[in-house]
Amino acid sequence: MSLVKERAGIRTDAPPRTPPGTRRGALPRLWHFLGFGAPGLLVYACFVLAPIALSVGYSFTNANQFVPRTRFVGLDNYTRLLTDQEFLTALKVTTILTLIVVIVPNVLGLAVAVLLDRRGWFYNALRGVFFVPVVLSSVVVSVVWQAMLTDDGLVNTALRAMGVHSPPGWLSDPDIALYSVGFIISWQMLGFCAVVYLAGLQSVPQELHEAAAIDGAGPWLRFRKVTWPMLAPALTINTVMLLITGFKAYDHIQVLTGGGPGTGTTATLAFSVIQTGFTANRTGEASAMALLMLVIVAVVSSVALRFLQRREVDF
């Protein structure tokens, strides 16, 4: 063996290479990874993990930023929240809003993507137009829509000009306001969904369409049997992103309705957390609300992710 190595020009006195994963190479490799990973890990620890850990701690106390003595209250905050009508209403409002925000942009985004799945400068320009709201600040979007949806705004002025005597109070009617907010968030997220679906559409192999066409499949059948299954990863991404967007909705609510009109209409969980923590000063209770919200988002997102990933297929 040694002779063979010598003939091949391989030095036999050289130290053998440490196979990956052996103890001798582990420490330098650890330093190596830490060197690159440390900045990100530290930022993540400071701004994500530490606040979550603090919130967990606060949630078991009666913490109030204006009351110096904080007392451990065990699970009191949690048990109270689970029977608190205001919290349950906020949960219901958040669920309805999330359903709107998940369904509307997904359906319309897919339709827009199918329409934009063409070549040419015009379609490229349109893709840009649809994506503009995504990059705008939520506050800017909300201010613009609020100006359009107030009673004296563009929409109702146009409706009155068309002969509608009592146009809807888009943001002032307690029965409509939540749907208006849902529509506005959906409008902003539409471009995101369309772009993700468009990327999915463009990755479907042409030969699959051709094979299906040869087998006699029409456009609708090809969409249902070829395109739609191949869009499963895009649907997963969009659904999970929209679920999170819906559950954490705060800024649109703050600008458009301030949680109103009236009680229990558009105050989402995120909005209620801020109100409880910073207006009513009940930091402990707000932390418990935030953690319950975190758990709900994590569970719903995980279930959705698992369910949707099962649909994904590889060709």
Binding site: P28, F66, V255, G258, T276, T279, A280
Partner: protein, 432 residues
């Protein structure tokens, strides 16, 4: 590479510890550019008090405190108290702040009290005390609300003089309604939910606080409740105004700026609003068409809910407390600043010897006349939802009340439901 990595880890940690994880905001104890001491000052912007107003006012007061540099902070909405709480929670509590309700901050030792010597210049030096101490300079009286009205729309409805009794108000509202004119313009949309509550504030003033000036102190002591006959009766008047169609429900979609615009655009005849509206009224094309009256009582006596305060508060933990106080006093006592806030925000200055600048507009002059008459008639009361200090609602209840006022305007709650809900919220706030 390993050597680089070994160096990178501690360097990154040190850098983040020194920069990223250090308390954000201005280090109040540090010296700014040119060796000056730097303090932060929390302001808020409105259509009347815009950025240019604050910049000029700060520059004038800054010039009176040598060696001081002031960094302006602007609250993202008119809820500067909520923003101050966020700043406190994140370790960025400003050194000086204006129009921030001291409730909570004062009791927890975050704000420094003003001494009698520092308050000597003020007409009502002991307004809104907390535990007997004053934490906010009482420089400005704001009757909230008075009722501004369009003389032209009143004339169109054959109303020759503003109402003096509540019955006359109802009669005038009926006349306006019969002419297709919305009697009351209200707001409350978006972030400015407060603008929905002023009819309620007015009615609690005329029907509750006028008879029982310490009503809220009694509520704090548990001697009265919102669902009691008196308070519920005042709330029911609000409900009835809505039921009769005298309150424009569309207002719930309008933020404050759009509400003001709606009244100035002739969308309704009466506008219950704080006296800061006077300036906007005087700047408008219809300034000679705007009149003002105190919300009428049943017997025609004068009752004007008012709030005196609104001034500067100082952080007790400011590393430059002396300079912060000097700046705050200089800001509030500077004649040019006071004139500017009178011109821009229609303030009624509550300082001894102060006279408003000449050439104020007719709406401001009429406003001051109504207030002076109420002072003469001893008809000034606290303003429900505006009062602070020992007379204020418990934390979080003001915002709940705005939502309840919106419920009333939207026709979702009657007086019984609204006052019961307020009692429930009170109970919850008191026990947690």
């Amino acid at each position: 590479m390993n050597r680089i990595a070994r160096l990178a880890v501690p360097l990154t940690a040190l850098t983040l510890a020194a920069v990223g994880c250090s308390p954000a905001g201005t280090d109040a104890g540090s010296s700014g550019a040119g060796g000056k001491k730097e303090i932060t000052f929390l302001t808020f912007e409105t259509p009347n008090l815009d950025a240019a107003y604050w910049d000029a006012a700060i520059a004038r007061a800054e010039a009176k405190v040598p060696g001081l540099k002031v960094k302006k902070l602007v609250a993202p909405s008119t809820d500067r108290t909520g923003y101050a709480k966020q700043l406190l929670a994140s370790g960025q509590f400003p050194d000086v702040m204006i129009s921030v309700s001291p409730v909570g901050f004062a009791e927890s030792g975050q704000m420094a009290p003003w001494t009698d010597k520092e308050l000597a210049q003020y007409t009502f030096p002991h307004s809104n005390p907390i535990g007997g101490k004053v934490y906010q300079l009482p420089y400005n009286t704001q009757p909230t609300p008075l009722v501004y009205y369009s003389k032209k729309l009143f004339a169109e409805a054959d109303i020759t003089a503003p109402p003096r009794t509540y019955q006359e108000l109802l009669d005038d509202s009926a006349k306006l309604k019969s002419k297709g004119i919305d009697p009351f313009v209200v707001g409350g949309g978006g972030k400015d939910t407060f603008a929905s509550s002023y009819l309620w504030t007015a009615l609690v003033g005329t029907d509750v606080y006028k008879q029982t000036p310490d009503w809220m102190a009694q509520r704090r002591a548990g001697k009265v409740a919102f669902n009691d006959a008196g308070f519920k009766g005042a709330t029911d008047k609000f409900v009835q105004l809505v039921k009769k169609g005298y309150v424009d429900k569309a207002g719930l979609s309008r933020d404050y700026a759009n509400t003001e615009k709606a009244f100035l655009g002739g969308k309704g005849a009466m506008y219950p609003m704080g006296t800061w509206f006077a300036t906007a009224g005087d700047k408008s094309a219809m300034k000679d068409d705007i009149g003002v009256f105190a919300f009428p009582t049943d017997d025609g006596s004068l009752s004007v809910p008012s709030y005196t305060g609104g001034g500067m508060s100082v952080s007790a933990k400011s590393k430059n407390l002396k300079e912060a106080k000097e700046f705050a006093l200089a800001f509030q006592q500077d004649k040019a600043n006071l004139d500017a806030v009178v011109k821009s925000d229609g303030a009624i200055i509550a300082m001894k010897g102060y006279t408003p600048p000449a050439g104020m507009g007719p709406v401001y002059d009429a406003t001051v006349k109504v207030y002076d008459a109420a002072v003469q008639a001893k008809g000034v009361t606290n303003a429900f939802l505006v009062e602070t200090g020992d007379d204020a609602l418990l934390p979080g209840l003001v915002e709940k009340s705005y939502a309840l006022a919106q419920d009333v305007i939207a026709g979702r709650k009657d007086a019984d439901a609204a006052t019961k809900a307020l009692d429930e919220d009170w109970k919850k706030a008191a026990t947690q």
